[in-house]
Symmetry: C2
Subunit: 334 residues, 2 copies
DNA sequence: TTGAAAGCGCTAACAC
DNA sequence: GTGTTAGCGCTTTCAA
């Protein structure tokens, strides 16, 4: 046995192909990467590669050439379709460009994000895509010193590190308020979920209140449900608002999931929407547009954020901020 | 310059730490992996590691030691919450066990799956998690010869390669039919989406028809909508069934998304559910349980499938088939 | 057009 | 407890 040890006992290596083809390793390497090789040699090598089912080891290739095709993608959650949408956009672009995405889920915890960033950096990825602009100091330090492109997605309200792609949640909140005010609603309520975790929802609410304070309308009730956003939470939150009454004529929800719960409550109780109470969400989910009354909401360019972020993170353009904006969907509930 | 070339110009290496600490590389390596090192040496090394922000290169580590912490996860889509649910379960278990998940999306295309399997194998992952039992011959060959654990999730109706974790979609279809029959429905309809792509939905439909053929009930209408499942498609499909009439008294949908569309149509048209027409779905999405009338459906253990698949793929147990079953949710629509 | 030698950053094996 | 040597499987460099 010439070999003392084999990392992967079943692994066929370049050397095996080279030996079988009667050429050197580097020639096989060239064939595989389209280098200058005689046609006949190329055919012979490729035939053997195919017959043996050889798959080049990218670990070795990357270590040797310093060009990884891994890109880390870190999102807060997979439980809400919003983030899979972003991931979907990123994955499509990365895949088409020959990159593999390594996915991490923070559960909205900055400390977990920090751990994930470190774990991903260990694989020397070509780039890193993260969610939002809020990170621990150490996360920031790692991202800055890693020497790779970093894209921060889904938020524009704050300072970014390199590439920032998203929308202004504050502006979205303001636009939502202005829409309700223009429609004549004056006694508004807010039904949200845990805003300590969901910083972007918190920024929308801030923008919403900002716009109200400059208007004739007022926020007369706020219901913050503990935990994640869900239709059940939105339904329960609206129930509490309506049971207390107080003459609320429109409700702004932290997102479409919550707002759909509100729609369901009104359907169940036979409450006239928007005559008795108007409902407004955020995200523009397809499902909410298939409701008996399409939800009034703001559509966020989720897939597009993933696409643009991925494209930029793989490119060489200078640091930039891309505002993808949002679209107000009038719907029928406000 | 002793060094001719540096793969990563900004990269600090083990050698840099060793030099700064006045020890050999292997000692630093031991410190980092908890090997036997004197307390004082350990402290000195760790201090330098921290100060320099050194993150060990796992490419090199893995190449050297043959122990990758990457696991490939291949799913058909990210657009339907069902697959992010599975991914979420897998990610949670993998992350807790120190593994990173490399994600691939096939778009329901076996050829793309084949390409993804090859691309992932190039990273010599510790294991691979795929969706369903249908694969191209070459995919099968690669998975069999890779010498790693492979888990196939979400389907039990067919032959697996190594680890199989899921539920019998055929049995779920049968159970759905039996439930409707027991409730007294006799003129049934089916509203589905593209079953050529979604093999699991096709198997449910097969089971459904099987059970019907042994009963007094009959399938009197079928509406297959092109493309992916969606509330809009379900709504439109049910509209066609009802517009044709034919005395249909219950409708089985390919999944909850489609069924919710059906619910929305009935709400919009004021059709009494389940008196005029009963509706039945598949998946048990939370959202469908927050509807004014909770959807009658079958709950699939999606997160659990991901968890169990991930746990087994990282372990050493022999090849096995795990039937996680399903739960019929009576709901209020059938 | 092809090859030999050196090295990517790390760890296993075996000294000392 | 610590170091030396020899790779892991590939690509780069330089030469033929």
């Amino acid at each position: 046995m010439a070999r003392t040890r084999r990392a992967d006992p079943r692994g066929i290596t370049l050397a095996d192909i080279a030996r079988a083809a009667g050429v050197s390793k580097i020639t096989v390497s060239r064939v595989l990467r389209g280098g200058p090789v005689a046609g006949e040699t190329r055919d012979r090598v490729l035939e053997i590669v195919r017959r043996l089912g050889y798959v080049p080891n990218r670990l070795a290739g990357t270590l040797s050439s310093a060009g990884s095709n891994l890109v880390g993608v870190i999102i807060p959650s997979l439980a809400n379709i919003v983030f899979p949408d972003v991931l979907r956009g990123a994955e499509a672009v990365l895949d088409a460009a020959g990159f593999r995405s390594v996915v991490g889920v923070t559960d909205y915890d900055p400390a977990r994000e920090e751990g994930l960033i470190e774990a991903m950096l260990a694989w020397r990825p070509a780039g890193l895509i993260v969610t939002g602009l809020e990170h621990t100091d150490r996360s920031r330090a790692m991202l800055t010193h890693a020497g790779i492109r970093v894209a921060e997605l889904m938020d524009l309200d704050g300072a970014g590190l390199d590439i920032v792609v998203g929308l202004s949640n504050r502006a979205a909140g303001r636009a939502s308020a202005r829409h309700l005010i223009e429609r004549g609603y004056r006694r508004l309520a807010y039904v949200g979920h845990d805003l300590g975790q969901d910083r972007r929802a918190a920024k929308r609410f801030e923008g919403f209140r900002e716009a109200l304070s400059e208007s004739a309308a007022a926020l007369v009730a706020t219901e913050l449900m503990p935990g994640r956003s869900s239709a059940a939470a939105g339904r329960e939150g609206l129930a509490r608002i309506l049971d207390r009454d107080g003459g609320v004529d429109a409700v702004y929800f932290s997102n479409d999931d919550m707002a759909m719960g509100g729609c369901f409550l009104c359907l169940a109780r036979g409450i006239a929407v928007p005559d008795r109470v108007a409902l407004f969400g955020f995200n523009g989910l397809d499902l909410a547009q298939a409701l008996p009354q399409p939800l009034s909401t703001i559509r966020s360019p989720r897939v597009r954020m993933g696409e643009v972020g991925a494209r930029l993170v793989c490119g060489r353009e200078p640091a930039t901020v891309v505002d993808l904006g949002f679209e107000l969907v009038p719907g029928a509930t406000a």
